[in-house]
Each structure stands twice: as structure tokens, then as C-alpha cells.
């Protein structure tokens, strides 16, 4: 009886030690990871050109960045200006801006306020480099203009919104139309927000595009005060 109890106590003791061991290990690993991230960011930032010169080392460096989650393309404006002009800084920032937009697309359909984009881009760039300003991001988006007009800034009221999905590749309109069809040829903005889970911006953008294309007619005469969009060939 006594032996059994002793065994029980010992078991509890072992478990506590084991848990302590595991949590201690986890803490050290997290510490090492953040240390690793810091030095890696530092190297990506200071030695970019040297790293590029040696393709084999470049591969190893890239692997480290990928594992640790360091953006190998984060540099400061000042570094480039001395050597190569601002070109590459804005091109890198362009990659980061597009990536931030792509990550959010499932949620916002490719529309994001510029201020929010700046916050997300800075988060991606890590802590080693200077934060970029709204002007920098705007400049980077302008530089992407060479790649077609699909990625652009829209002015909605007093706000500036980045549109990252060009109309030709946007399937929101298809969804709006099928919603209208199921209701007998018309739809209200609020219906779309509810049924499709779109943000108000996204709804307005889709409806406006369909108006511009001459697909929809506006009906403001309803007693609930909600504008209706009619699609004649669907009714």
C-alpha cells in the first residue's frame, strides 16, 4: 500500500519535471528563433549585393529566410539611393504591396484602403528596416503601372482605396448577377452584403462597374429608400 502511494508520488514528480523540461525547451527555441530572425534580417539588409554574387550561398540564405520567415527583399530607401537610384527599393516594395493585397483578397475582394495596406506592408517588412510611409507605397504602386492598369488607386469619397483585381479577372460581377437573377432581376446593396459577405466598398465597386458597363439600371423610387439595381435581361 505504501509502495503504491510512493510510486504515485514519484510519477507525479516525473511528470512535473517532464513538463518543465518541455516548456523550458520551447522557451529557448523561441528565443533562438527570434535571435535567428534578427541576425538574418540584419544580413539580408546589409549584405544583399554580396549574397547575390555567390549563387550557392544565395540558395542557402534563401532557405534560411524561408524557414524563419524573413523577407529577403526588405531594404531601406537610403541604401539604394547611393548605389543604384531608388529603382529597386520601390520595386521591392511593389512585391510586398501586391503580396499584402493578395493575402487579403479572399476577405475584401481586392479592395483595401491605402492606410491599411501601409500597416500590413510594414508588418511584412520586419523590424530591421525603416517603416515605409504612405507616399512610399503610393510611389511603389505607380511604378507597377508598367505591368498594366490592373493594380491601381481609386478615390472613393475622401478615401484612397487600392484595387488589386482588374475588372477582367474579377468574378464579383458574376456573383452579383446570379444573386439578382435569383431575386427576379434586381438586387439591393444590402442584399449583397448579407448574402455574399461582401464589404460595402466591394459591393459598391461591383455595382458601379455593372452600371458603367450599361448592364444595370438604377431605381431609387422604392418606399424603403434602398436603391435597387435592375438587370433588364434577367427579369
Amino acid at each position: 500500500m505504501h509502495g503504491l502511494k510512493q510510486k504515485q508520488t514519484a510519477k507525479t514528480h516525473y511528470r512535473q519535471v517532464g513538463e518543465q523540461l518541455a516548456s523550458e525547451r520551447l522557451a529557448t527555441m523561441e528565443e533562438q528563433l527570434s535571435k535567428f530572425r534578427k541576425v538574418l534580417e540584419d544580413f539580408a539588409f546589409r549584405h544583399k549585393e554580396d549574397i547575390k554574387k555567390d549563387p550557392i550561398f544565395r540558395k542557402h540564405f534563401h532557405e534560411m529566410c524561408a524557414s524563419i520567415g524573413v523577407d529577403p527583399l526588405a531594404s531601406n530607401k537610403g541604401m539604394w539611393s547611393e548605389l543604384l537610384g531608388f529603382g529597386d527599393f520601390y520595386y521591392e516594395l511593389g512585391v510586398q504591396a501586391v503580396e499584402a493585397c493578395m493575402a487579403e483578397r479572399p476577405l475584401n475582394g481586392g479592395l483595401m484602403e491605402i492606410e491599411e495596406l501601409v500597416v500590413r506592408v510594414n508588418k511584412r517588412r520586419g523590424h530591421k528596416v525603416d517603416a515605409v510611409s504612405k507616399d512610399d507605397v503610393v510611389q511603389a504602386i505607380r511604378k507597377l503601372g508598367k505591368l498594366g492598369s490592373g493594380f491601381k488607386l481609386l478615390n472613393i469619397g475622401t478615401r484612397t482605396v487600392v484595387q488589386s483585381v482588374p475588372g477582367e479577372l474579377n468574378r464579383d460581377h458574376n456573383q452579383v448577377l446570379s444573386q439578382a437573377e435569383s431575386q427576379g432581376g434586381w438586387v439591393r446593396g444590402v442584399d449583397l452584403e448579407k448574402s455574399l459577405g461582401f464589404t460595402p466598398d466591394r459591393v459598391q465597386q461591383a455595382l458601379q462597374a455593372l452600371l458603367n458597363e450599361g448592364q444595370a439600371w438604377v431605381d431609387d423610387g422604392h418606399e424603403d429608400g434602398e436603391r435597387r439595381y435592375w438587370f433588364p435581361y434577367l427579369s
Binding site: K11, E30, L169
Partner: protein
């Protein structure tokens, strides 16, 4: 004596060499001849190909269009590769008085001519196996810097011995302890049946390991050359850290989900050997186009056959890591697709949007589909609108509308602006002969 038989070099659908898993291209040199045998190229000669030094092999591409054959035998050259591990020795001759700089490679081969494997070559060079040595000569007839570029990169590849390291990675010392963390961390109670002294031992060992890993990070990141020396080790440590922590977060709740998403994004799309200006030289845009085409095959399928060029710029550059491609180079590469027989093309829409499309969406294929839609089941005439096209072809509405206008502009369809909105019909007039 039979000739040296090089290994076959397999090409991708865009005709880019398929590389080994972690192989990196170091340089490409055009206008190079391969000469087999010791007799100064009289036995067999493959002419005017491109040669690459990679971290693992030499690659030879026969000239485009031609066979690159030469010599009396009239043998036809093949796209080939030679593992650097089979190289015993090399000698370069670049004298002021000789017109063509050459490299003479001594290659381990079997009796039948097959190039030796890494293990065979190792055994042979230490006298443990009997292999034959053959000579392969490279003659550089292209740009004046070819010889120096080749020599520099061959030396680099031979010094790094990347092929050998792959076999060694399992013998890692740093980060070794994380394996055991994962083994035990999951169920703390199950493994702790040892004596108290054992536990003390484990704890001590763990702290020592941590200290060791800490120290090795410090040493490796002291400066750039230190990091270059320790690069392999650090890659191992970084991936082990990540694995161990991922295991842990999988159990814990998913905070900071978004940041994990980035990592995944970066990882899943990696291009190991990005085509660069310094490795590809004058073949840069051509090779870039091939790499881009190979890379886009999967994403294009996922996105219904069209991706905005801006998105391509982002994902392609992310996959390339530190080697950023400028928008100008990207456009130039994409413009080469049709000429290179790649089944993708760059399309500019009315609105100015640029996108890469797969060639199933070429104009001709498109018109055919649209005309097919203007015929009902019984062959009767039907009017189609953008909504029908969007649904029928499973494409975005605005794109459907643009396609209809394009087809109208090319006299394939004609419009009827009636009470049902804008409808399009097959244009019979195009077949009327006047």
C-alpha cells in the same frame, strides 16, 4: 575503345534543363564545342552548343534548330550532362598564341563508356576500384570572357562540393536535440520512467545543447564569410527550429495566423536556381521566359487560365527570393513566349490591364467557342450576351463582355441592341461573297 557516354539532360516543357533538387546554375556560356577523346577532337565533336556550370554538373545544350554534329563520324549531339563528382582533374589552356581557349577534363568512366557515379569515382580515385579515364575537351568559341567565367565557376562548384554535402546533412550536430524534444515534448509522462539521475542528465544535456546552438548562431553570424562557411549548418538549424515550433503551435491555438500564412507563401513556391543576368548572360530573357513559363503552369491552371501580370510579378519574385526581376524584364520575357513555342501569351485588354493567359484562350480558340454558343441545340440561331458567355466559359463577366466586343471587331459576331439588352449573333455576312 568505346567513347565516353554522357548522361542525358532532360528538358522541361519550355525546353529549360530540368535541374536536380538543390542544383544551382552558376553560369551559361554560348558557342562551346565538346570534343571527345584524347586525340584533339578527331574522334567526335559536338559543335556550337551552350554549356552551363552548375553546383552539381556540367550541362550541355545542343544548338537550337541544328543538330550540332561534327567530326568525321557525323554523330548527332544530344542535350547532355556530366556530374562534377566524376571529374578527376582538369586543365585549362588559354594561351595568347592559341586562338581557341580550351578546357581538358579528365573524367572517370566505366569500361562501356558510362560516366562513373559519385561513389565509383571516389573509390577509383583512392585506388579501390578500377575505372578508365577519358578526356573531354571544351572549346570556347564565343565571347572573349568565356574561358575565365567558366574557370571561375568550375572552381567554385568544385570547392563547395554541394553534391557531397547532400549525403552528409543527416550527420548534423547542431539542433540534434530538437529531434528529441519533439519525441518527448508531446507526451511528457510516457518517457519519464528513468531514474532521477537520468532526468538530471537529460536536463543537463538539454541546457548544453541550447547553449551550443546559441553559440553556433553567434559564430555563424559574426560576419559574412563566417556565415558562408556555416551556411549549411544554419539552414539545418533554421528548418529544425521551424519544424519544432510549428509542431508546438499546431497544438496551441492559432494566434497570429496571418504571419504563418506568409511563411507558407514564401516556402511553397520556391525557385531554387533563379535565372539571373550574371548566370545567363545574353541568354537572360530567353531563359527567364522559360523559367517563368515552367513556374506559371500550375498557378495558371488554378486561376482559370489567366493571371494579372502584377500578380505574376509578385509571386514570381517571391519564388526567386533575393533575385528581383524588374517589371521591364518580366514584360520582355513574357513577350518572348509565342516565339519560343510556349503555350502562353501576354494579353493586353481594352482597359490597359495586362495578363498572362494560357493559349487555350487564344483569339482563334475563343472565336470558335463563341460561335458555337450562337447555335442552339437544334442548330437554331441564338443571341448571346455577356452573362451567357461568362457562365458558358466560366470566366468573369467583364472579360466575357470584352471577348464579345473583340469578336464583333473581328467580324465574327454582330450585335443586336434590343429590349433584352445587348445580344450578339453569328455574323453570316462574313461568308457572303460579293
Amino acid at each position: 575503345m568505346s567513347n565516353l557516354v554522357l548522361e542525358e539532360l532532360v528538358l522541361s516543357t519550355s525546353n529549360r534543363p530540368r535541374l536536380l533538387k538543390s542544383e544551382i546554375e552558376l553560369c551559361w556560356i554560348q558557342r562551346t564545342d565538346l570534343e571527345f577523346g584524347d586525340s584533339g577532337g578527331k574522334e567526335e565533336k559536338w559543335k556550337d552548343g551552350s554549356i552551363a556550370v552548375t553546383s552539381h554538373r556540367l550541362l550541355w545544350l545542343k544548338p537550337e534548330g541544328g543538330t550540332g554534329s561534327g567530326g568525321e563520324g557525323g554523330e548527332v549531339s544530344r542535350n547532355s550532362s556530366l556530374p562534377l563528382s566524376a571529374l578527376k582533374d582538369y586543365k585549362g589552356v588559354n594561351s595568347f598564341f592559341k586562338k581557341t581557349p580550351r578546357f581538358f577534363l579528365k573524367v572517370w568512366r566505366s569500361d562501356s563508356g558510362k560516366v562513373a557515379s559519385a561513389a565509383e569515382a571516389k573509390a577509383a580515385s583512392s585506388g579501390k576500384a578500377l575505372l578508365e579515364l577519358d578526356t573531354l575537351s571544351l572549346a570556347f568559341r564565343g565571347a572573349s570572357g568565356s574561358y575565365d567565367t567558366f574557370e571561375k565557376n568550375l572552381k567554385l562548384a568544385l570547392a563547395r562540393e554541394e553534391w557531397r554535402k547532400e549525403q552528409m546533412t543527416k550527420e548534423m550536430t547542431v539542433g540534434e536535440s530538437y529531434e528529441s524534444v519533439r519525441g518527448r515534448g508531446g507526451g511528457p509522462t510516457t518517457q519519464v520512467g528513468a531514474s532521477a539521475a537520468g532526468i538530471g542528465g537529460i536536463m543537463r544535456k538539454q541546457r548544453e545543447d541550447n547553449l551550443k546552438a546559441d553559440k553556433s548562431i553567434d559564430v555563424a553570424f559574426k560576419d559574412l564569410s563566417a556565415l558562408m562557411d556555416k551556411a549549411r549548418e544554419m539552414v539545418g538549424l533554421s528548418s529544425k527550429l521551424k519544424e519544432a515550433l510549428q509542431e508546438n503551435t499546431r497544438k496551441a491555438d492559432d494566434t497570429d495566423k496571418e504571419d504563418k500564412g506568409i511563411e507558407k507563401f514564401l516556402l511553397s513556391l520556391g525557385i531554387t536556381s533563379p535565372v539571373t543576368k550574371s548566370t545567363a548572360g545574353s541568354m537572360f530573357h530567353q531563359q527567364l521566359a522559360q523559367q517563368l513559363a515552367d513556374f506559371l503552369t500550375a498557378p495558371l491552371k488554378k486561376s482559370h487560365g489567366a493571371i494579372a501580370l502584377v500578380d505574376v510579378y509578385c509571386i514570381f519574385n517571391r519564388a526567386r527570393g533575393i533575385e528581383l526581376v524588374s517589371p521591364e524584364d518580366l514584360i520582355e520575357a513574357a513577350n518572348l513566349f509565342p516565339r519560343m513555342g510556349i503555350n502562353m501569351h501576354l494579353r493586353e485588354f481594352e482597359s490597359g490591364t495586362l495578363a498572362i493567359q494560357s493559349s487555350e484562350h487564344s483569339d482563334e480558340a475563343l472565336y470558335e467557342k463563341l460561335q458555337g454558343m450562337t447555335r442552339g441545340p437544334g442548330g437554331n440561331i441564338v443571341g448571346i450576351g455577356p452573362d451567357d458567355v461568362a457562365a458558358g466559359l466560366d470566366i468573369p463577366f467583364i472579360l466575357a463582355r470584352e471577348y464579345l466586343f473583340m469578336a464583333e471587331g473581328n467580324q465574327m459576331l454582330c450585335r443586336d441592341d434590343g429590349p433584352d439588352g445587348l445580344r450578339f449573333y453569328d455574323n453570316f455576312f462574313k461568308e457572303v461573297q460579293l
